[in-house]
């Protein structure tokens, strides 16, 4: 163990996180079958998935117990690229509504 790695939580923490992740996966299925679809369902799915990912990264991957500088570095880089990836959405609407072969 290097100097930045503090002792992580016990097995009970892991089991609690495991149950939470399973519950959230179940929640996604319930949301899928109790929704009419569309952008609202998409937004809910992404939010639940993002929370799942955050919980798993923090507790399963032990980022919670690593140095804050590592957490911040990972977060800044990842979020920047994720936002940059969203640049192209307007073009998909163009293809759907304005291109000659769209129905």
């Amino acid at each position: 163990m290097t100097t930045g790695e503090r002792q992580s939580g016990g097995l009970s923490t892991d089991i609690i996180v495991y149950v939470v992740l399973l519950a959230m996966a179940g929640l996604q299925i319930i949301l899928a079958y109790n929704s009419s679809g569309g952008r609202e369902l998409l937004a809910r799915m992404i939010v639940v998935a993002a929370v799942q990912a955050l919980v798993a990264v923090m507790f399963f991957m032990h980022l919670w117990w690593e140095r804050r500088s590592l957490v911040v570095s990972i977060a800044v880089v990842s979020l920047f690229v994720l936002f940059a990836l969203q640049y192209s959405w307007s073009d998909s609407f163009r293809l759907l509504h304005m291109s000659p072969w769209a129905h």
Binding site: T3, L41, A49, Q52, L95
Partner: protein
């Protein structure tokens, strides 16, 4: 004396630097790989979303039985394998080599079962007429999008299973240590996290009502 000027065993100053973020080099490299791979998956999922948004007739072919039930079982197996990986890491850190190796193998078994279920699902889709550029339901690129996203994830799971077996055997043989098990665990949890996005975006948004 600056942080970079450290001496180890009497060697000259400046030859050893403090590890960035105070993690081992191997762990930092794994984190860098995970970040880059996460961006790869994000890009492929955005591309999938782009295709879907630009298609007026994107298929919704996944029935509750067998597709969604299969996905639920696969999700349960993969999340459980993350737990078994954590148990393996804890056993390794406490010095119990035998238990750590056993739990690593259980994790690998979970990954293998996941991969087999995935291949079985693929064969079912192919049997229904889904190909890369055609399918019986709607937008022709549905197959390409589905197989490329899930195929990339399946490749990661398969490579992870192989790595688990190799690292587990080498750990048992004394060539690797508990830190290596932990670093492999980071990769396995990453594969699990990607699946948490694949399920809702690929499957749950395309269920047959």
């Amino acid at each position: 004396m600056s942080e970079a000027q450290l001496t180890v065993g009497g060697h000259g100053a400046g030859l050893v630097e403090a590890s960035p973020f105070s993690v081992s080099t191997k762990k930092l490299v794994m984190w860098l790989f995970i970040i880059s791979d996460a961006m790869t998956f994000a890009a492929i999922l955005v591309a999938y979303g782009f295709l879907r948004n630009a298609s007026p007739n994107w298929p919704a072919p996944f029935k509750f039985s067998p597709s969604i039930i299969n996905v639920m079982v696969m999700t349960f197996i993969l999340i459980s394998s993350s737990l078994t990986m954590l148990i393996a890491v804890r056993a390794a850190q406490s010095g119990d080599k035998s238990a750590a190796f056993t739990w690593v193998l259980i994790t690998a078994l979970g990954g293998a079962v996941f991969a087999l279920l995935h291949v079985r699902e693929w064969l079912g889709m192919i049997g229904e007429g889904v190909r890369l550029f055609q399918n019986p339901w709607g937008a022709p690129l549905f197959g390409a999008a589905f197989f490329s996203v899930t195929g990339l994830h399946l490749l990661h799971v398969t490579c992870g299973v192989i790595a688990l077996v190799i690292v587990g055997l080498r750990y048992k043989g004394g060539r690797y240590d508990a830190g290596d098990i932990e670093i492999l665990g980071l990769y396995w949890h990453f594969v699990d996290i990607v699946w948490m996005f694949v399920v809702p975006l690929i499957y749950l948004l395309s269920i047959e009502h």
